[in-house]
């Protein structure tokens, strides 16, 4: 009991010192932290979104729709290759269903001639051609995985660009599972607006309006009907436009909100070189006709071409407000999402509630500590004081652990902290009760202390182990705030074992050696 090797003492003091160093940055205001020398650890406990306010959004990417669109384009490609080449091929039942493109060649003798064309159209697919002319093509599992991964990757890229443009600081955007994306936006003021921006696909295309077609009639196969957004009272509700777009948003290099002559907010855009050339040609050929700008399936404007537009820049006007023009410009700059996104989970906490939670948590924590400290002093006197020193060190070490691991402190995490402090003194209670018992059995102070620590240690380990097990599963399965609770409890169990067993033991042994008491004040 009295003997502590120099080595052990150094380790114990070292851990305490490290604890203080790593937890100290949490007390320094963040603006001063940056000016400290480089060797000082600067990582502080990051607060969860439930404490600092912000949005947690879980998106699901519509991979099915994306793959169907891809298969549709394969179908179109096959149709073109089989009918528009030098040799024409007859076929039946060309279509895509259940992730498979299929068709039947009318003349099995044409199989060999059709094979290279089909191969071209289905490059990364598994192509099967039967001797009866039945053709199927589908993606291999590996390709599907790769396509999905790319899709998520691209979506994340676009989301990041959009969020960055809104000036939100330190967003977290990561893939989760097969087809999900987590977006975390700390401190965001207007979550609905950002949600709006992220959720828009923002696929923009330029189409010629087919003036000859009857609006009421069935559109020609090369045409499609498109709805007009915000139709003017005297204008058309829908227009018939050519299916094949002249150009798409991909050809844009820049877009900005600006004002028209009349002071109306508009979006000014610039094409890249290819886009400018194509747009120049198209407008030169179609002076006097209308073209439509379609955004996510809706026509936002369909102006008449007055002159050839050769400079590669133009404006979109369409009853915008300044805000909606800014938003559209932002979306065009960031690019279109490759697939549709849906919010499947949202947790938004306002900064006020977060601040209230921090206040409430602090208060509960302080009151709990005061209650425990006073109770330990009353119940165990001098040794209660030692246990209280350990308790405070424990709190410091928990913060050091959270900081060093870069863990997040959530509101349930604060609850975990309070709980840990309550349970941490259990180890000291176990030891001290045991010591009292040994004293009653007539042992001397030193041997009673020795027995107390020796006998209680196994029990303390067992009791803590059960906590660790329950908490580990909570950590593994829990989400955000609950993970915060679990990590605080986990760190707390480890640090409290250290402080309430080793630290108190060291302090007690130092005191025993100095004071050499005949009776323990217990």
């Amino acid at each position: 009991m009295l003997q502590f090797s120099k080595f052990k003492v150094t380790i114990i003091l070292g851990i305490i010192l490290l604890g203080i160093i790593f937890s100290a940055p949490n007390l320094v205001p963040s603006d001063k932290l940056a000016s400290l020398p480089g060797w000082v650890p600067k990582t502080v406990v990051s607060l969860g979104l439930d404490l600092q306010g912000g949005s947690h959004l879980l998106y699901e990417v519509d991979t099915a729709k994306f793959l169907n669109e891809r298969l549709d384009s394969v179908v179109n490609d096959i149709r073109d290759k089989l009918t528009k080449g030098q040799t024409k091929f007859g076929y039946l039942n060309l279509g895509a269903s259940n992730g498979t493109v299929s068709l039947t060649l009318r003349d099995p003798n044409q199989i060999d001639a059709a094979r290279p064309l089909l191969q071209q159209a289905t490059t990364d697919m598994d192509l099967q051609i039967g001797s009866d002319g039945k053709v199927t093509a589908k993606y291999t599992d590996e390709t599907l995985r790769r396509l999905k991964a790319q899709l998520i990757e691209q979506s994340i890229e676009v989301i990041r660009k959009r969020i960055d443009q809104t000036g939100t600081k330190e967003p977290t955007i990561i893939r989760q599972g097969e087809d999900r994306i987590v977006v975390q936006l700390p401190g965001v003021k207007d979550p609905e607006h950002i949600k709006d921006l992220i959720g828009k696909t923002a696929k923009m295309t330029f189409h010629m309006v087919d003036e000859a077609a009857e609006v009421s009639g069935q559109p020609a196969p090369t045409d499609m009907v498109a709805k007009v957004r915000n139709p003017k009272s005297d204008g058309a509700v829908q227009l018939i436009v050519q299916k094949l777009p002249l150009l798409s948003g991909q050809n844009l290099t820049d877009a900005q909100q600006s004002f028209e002559g009349g002071g109306q907010p508009v979006v000014a855009f610039k094409f890249d070189n290819i886009g400018a050339k194509k747009f120049g040609q198209a407008t030169a050929q179609n002076v006097g006709k209308r073209f439509a700008i379609i955004l996510d399936g809706e026509i936002i404007t369909a102006p008449v071409i007055k002159d050839a537009i050769l400079g590669g820049s133009g404006i979109i006007s369409g009853s915008f407000t300044v805000q909606s023009a800014q938003d559209l410009a932002l979306l065009l700059r960031a690019g279109a999402l490759p697939a549709d996104l849906t919010v499947i989970e949202e947790r938004t906490v306002g900064a006020d509630l977060g601040a209230d939670s921090i206040e409430a948590g602090k208060k509960a924590c302080l009151i709990a500590i005061v209650l425990i400290v006073v109770a330990m002093l009353v119940l165990y006197g001098f040794f209660g004081l030692i246990a209280n020193v350990a308790l405070v060190l424990n709190a410091i070490l928990i913060f050091a652990g959270l900081s060093a691991l870069g863990a997040t402190l959530t509101f349930p995490g604060i609850a975990g902290l309070v709980l840990t402090l309550g349970m941490a003194v259990d180890a000291n209670v176990l030891i001290l009760e045991r010591v009292r018992e040994e004293m009653r059995n007539g042992r001397s102070p030193v041997t009673a202390m020795e027995a107390g620590y020796r006998e209680a240690q196994g029990t303390i380990i067992d009791a803590n182990a059960t906590h660790v097990i329950a908490t580990l599963f909570l950590f593994e399965f829990g989400s955000g705030p609950i993970k915060g609770f679990a990590i605080t409890l986990l760190i707390g169990v480890v640090t409290s074992f250290f402080t309430s067993v080793y630290v108190t033991r060291l302090l007690t042994s130092v005191w025993l050696r100095r004071a050499r008491p005949k009776l323990l004040p217990l």
Binding site: L419, L421, F473, L474, G478
Partner: protein
């Protein structure tokens, strides 16, 4: 130097075992009652599990919100049955909207509609939406976490103690967890992810408490080889009584601080923990320890050195 105050006097001789039969009866009634309540009345699942929308809004102007008027304003929205409830302060309202039949997109539209109707007279303190798929996933992961945690604890107790102890500790643990969930069914308090965290923490606490007594019983078994098992249990309970009181008391104090000052958001968690600490302490003393007399502990005692067979037999007779 200050001579500390002894909360529980030394050498108490309570006959805990005298009450073990009525305690068993009470526990059986509580567990069965809880299960019946869980299956008949059901749990008031929060949006974590049931899906839907939860919004906490605070009026910017009124000091006291007129819920009737607010309901009148929101009833025309056709977004299912809206529940309103003041939350903490008189000017703060918790709005719940059920899962929308149209799926996730419809849920987002419902939120947008609600916000448009409420306008900017309100501070949006909290908005949580959980879609049907996520709700199901959260439910299944909560069930898995609970099952695996209980199995894990069972495994540990099994490994560290003889199987009789293991079974009893787990029975006590299940007793504590089931009655906690039962409490939520009885009171209709919202059952959500935080509640599951509380239940798992209670599981850890329950076994923690049991393990301390069991350690003591094992220790006393080695010391008093011929003492009747009933007396052994009484002895162990009495000699750890001071520790049990102090630890439970201190943990209870800190959880009370949470319940009283920790705010509305984690009130459910705090209340669950208060119950858990009380029931965990009770189940250790009145369930886990007394159950040992029904287990054939002679095998364990038989492991002691010197003529294991005969010793074991006498112990069994005394214990019976």
């Amino acid at each position: 130097m200050y001579k500390p105050f002894h909360l529980v006097p030394a050498n108490t001789r309570f006959d805990f075992m005298r009450f073990h039969k009525p305690a068993f009866l009470l526990s059986v009634i509580m567990v069965i009652g809880s299960i019946v309540l869980i299956f008949t009345k059901g749990l008031n699942y929060g949006i974590d599990f049931a899906g839907g929308v939860l919004m906490e809004v605070q009026s910017k102007q009124e000091q006291v919100v007129d819920l009737g008027a607010l309901r009148g304003k929101l009833d025309g929205l056709e977004i299912g049955e809206i529940t309103l409830q003041t939350f903490g302060a008189e000017n703060t309202v918790l709005i719940r909207i059920p899962q929308q039949p149209g799926g996730d997109q419809a849920t987002q539209q419902a939120v947008a509609k609600l916000k448009a109707t409420l306008g900017d007279q309100w501070d949006y303190r909290r908005t949580e939406t959980v879609g049907p798929k996520v709700g199901e996933e959260l439910k299944s992961s909560a069930v898995w976490a609970s099952l695996l945690a209980i199995l894990g604890i069972m495994g540990y107790v099994w490994f560290r103690y003889e199987w009789q102890f293991g079974i009893n500790a787990v029975l006590a643990l299940i007793h504590d967890c089931v009655t906690t969930v039962g409490l939520f069914a009885l009171t209709g308090m919202e059952f959500n992810l935080t509640t599951v965290a509380a239940v798992l923490t209670i599981a850890g606490y329950s076994v923690n408490d049991t393990v301390v007594i069991y350690d003591r019983i094992r220790y006393d078994m080695r010391r008093y080889k011929t003492m009747a098992i009933k007396d052994l249990i009484n002895l162990a309970l009495n000699s750890t009584l001071s520790r049990t009181t102090v630890t439970s008391g201190l943990t209870l104090l800190s959880v009370l601080a949470l319940a009283l000052f920790g705010g509305e958001v984690i009130r459910g968690f705090s209340i669950a923990m208060i119950w858990g600490i009380v029931i965990g302490t009770y189940s250790t003393i009145c369930v886990a320890a007394p159950l040992l007399i029904y287990m054939h502990l002679h095998r364990i005692r038989g492991k002691e050195p010197t003529d294991p067979k005969s010793k074991g037999d006498t112990a069994a007779q005394q214990g019976a």
